[in-house]
Symmetry: C2
Subunit: 412 residues, 2 copies
């Protein structure tokens, strides 16, 4: 007998017919002798409806009241789901975040889970019930309702799986797993069967559509096996697991791209201690996130500083940096909005130095210039001109043979 947490997103429970279908699927799984906890999102469209009401009323909706409002969406779904299970002849009970209780801090609309009391859930499981729990919501020590922000239902599911020491957490969605790259731009993209937490974290932009990245971090921390799969088929999806549970790691797991960033360069910065802080403090004070940062030594006392920001922050960042450049005596601030970041990810590259050079060769062969390069333990990222994005992704996908299954990493 396994204990499984199953999470279904908004499109999976977008109508009463779909809720009934999910109830049948979960019930069948329980009847095979498993214990099941079902975490549900709001019906698709519901959160938009409620947000629309709020925007009619308050320009910047009060965060506590926003949580009071939005948390009703999941409450509706779990009640209907429990009815659907009962109509099918099995037993179910719905529980809200505060009934469980899922305790969070008091950062309304983006709260973090502090702890989960599993006793009530365990009691209902022991009584043979399917326990359905509202995703996305928790409760503060003072009894105020909170929500967990974007992708919150995934976080609820993983946190419950961790607290209950469940055998797995299954995330049901409208795609059938995580792919080696975006199938929309590379027809050879292949569904990944097993991938490590670290790779999944680095593949954030591929996974974002199917799995909230915060929940992957949580799953890694508590070692919860994650299974991303389709609501609309019985096929296995992608398992996200500990690295040593993957028999044969791929050299490279996936190729991702990101078109939401812009590059900024400050030239001829005096190369002295504390200069980087002077540049980045006004940026972070303005709430602007910086991604890649590269510093090239130019000559003895001058350096060039290049980094990327979100494209929507580009104009503001340039403006701020021109002031800074004057202050510190740098030569110029320039940048480029039309860039893309291409990344190659894989735990296999830990033991294989050839990945970066292969990547550079492939891009060079296609005549694509690299504006920036950065590497982490399991990722190599290059910034290129945006117009080459699709070409680069397809070429790299081919070069690393990602369309072939189980090409194991070779030890050097």
């Amino acid at each position: 007998m396994a204990l499984i947490v199953q999470k279904f997103g908004g499109t999976s429970v977008g109508s009463t017919e779909k809720i009934k279908a999910v109830a049948r699927r979960v019930t069948a799984y329980q009847q095979q002798g498993n214990q099941v906890i079902v975490v549900l999102s709001a019906m698709s469209g519901e959160t938009d409806r409620l947000t629309g009401f709020a925007q009619d009323i308050q320009e910047i909706p009060n965060r506590r009241e926003m949580d009071m409002l939005l948390s009703t969406g999941e409450q509706v779904t779990i009640a209907l789901f429990a009815m659907a299970v009962k109509e099918g002849g099995s037993d179910a009970v719905s529980l809200l975040g505060d009934q469980v209780a899922i305790r969070t801090d008091d950062m309304h609309t983006r709260a973090r889970i502090k702890n989960i009391d599993t006793r009530l859930i365990q009691k209902h499981l022991d009584a043979g019930k399917i326990v359905t729990i509202a995703g996305f919501q928790g409760v503060t020590e003072e009894g105020d309702i909170t929500t967990l922000g974007r992708g919150g239902s995934d976080t609820t599911a993983v946190a419950l799986a961790a607290a209950l020491k469940a055998d797995a957490c299954e995330i049901f969605t409208d795609v059938d797993g995580v792919y080696t790259t975006d199938p929309n731009i590379c027809t050879k993209a292949r569904k990944i069967d097993r991938i490590s937490y670290d790779e999944m974290l680095e593949l954030a932009s591929l996974g974002a559509k199917v799995l909230d990245i915060r929940s992957v971090g949580l799953a890694k921390r508590y070692n919860v096996p994650l299974h991303v799969r389709s609501t609309f088929s019985e096929n296995e999806g992608t398992w996200v697991v500990e690295e040593d549970k993957i028999m044969e790691s791929m050299l490279v797991s996936g190729v991702t791209y990101n078109k939401n960033e812009a590059r900024i360069t400050i030239k001829h910065v005096p190369d002295q201690p504390g200069i980087a802080a002077k540049i980045f403090l006004p940026i972070s004070d303005a709430g602007i996130m910086v991604d890649m940062i590269i510093q090239n030594t130019r000559d003895s006392h001058l350096t060039d500083m290049t980094f990327t920001v979100m494209r929507s922050d580009y104009a503001r960042a340039i403006e701020l940096l021109k002031e800074v450049a004057d202050e510190i005596g740098a030569e110029s601030v320039s940048g480029d909005k039309n860039i893309a970041k291409i990344s190659v990810v894989g735990v296999g590259m830990r033991n294989h130095s050839g990945i970066a050079s292969t990547m550079f060769q492939i891009l060079a062969k296609e005549g694509i210039n690299m504006e920036m390069v950065s590497t982490s333990e399991i990722k190599v990222s290059c910034v290129i001109a945006e117009k080459y994005t699709e070409l680069a992704v397809r070429a790299l996908h081919d070069a690393f043979a990602l369309d072939k299954e189980n090409m194991p990493a070779e030890e050097e």
Copy 2:
């Protein structure tokens, strides 16, 4: 400084524009130096939407899950209302039944309030906030959400007023008060300024559209002054208060009618102890409510038994009673669906024996035959043929001069 509970029904908060208007009105009232607790219903249409979902899923929706589902309606409204107050520059906080806590028994979909913890409300009031509370809902000792059934938000408002010893409970609705009779059939119907709890209870059918009768009983028990008034005007409505707070009681306060009942007669029932129980037990076992009961002695050992049931229960009641009649050796079971019950209500009649006879004279003058008569301390009811309903109501309204204000009851 007064402490007032104000309750707004679904049509009063049926859109974001209406919610903003209510927020402005309540805020203005608070700024006059009052403390205000606002009890809200679900936006009109919302409960139907949710009920529709439930009916799609479960033939007889599970009561606990129905409460989980329906209680979201009021939660949405209080969150939006609190935002609207804040947008207007004042402070507000929304609270759910379980946050307050409003403790109920565990009779889901028709729970009764056991007690209310006023501490959290008092804390927020003391901090200068408008406190808005979800109507219709409570929580069991075990933490399950309950709803209070039909008219539940009125009950919430009155119970809160009682628990907080508020100066008054104002019920805002889409009509401007309680009338001496139905204005749709009697153009001379007049709005009543002040009426006693007991009269309001007897005038149930007049009040049903504006005020749940259960909340009147609660208001009487805890002596909470009730004010039924319009959301859409500043005019005073109808005050429902203790009898001795009404300076000049009317002889008669109102004339009501009820077309939802049917008459049943069992003839030649053996007149012996226990026979009534034999007749009514199968009826009550079938969940059929009996209203008026009249027993006429016919001759030494036989009696006729006549009573009324809801029209929708008529066929089933006749069927059950034919079996009973055979068993106990009664002669026949007959009935009439096309009847109306006309009632004249007023605390003035306690000291005035002439009301019933005036009523009989008026009906006789109009050629209306009375099929049944029953009286209580402050009410006289007659069953007549349904087709005479409007004629009888208008004639009685005229006869007791209900279109004239303040005709005091004369002591005999």
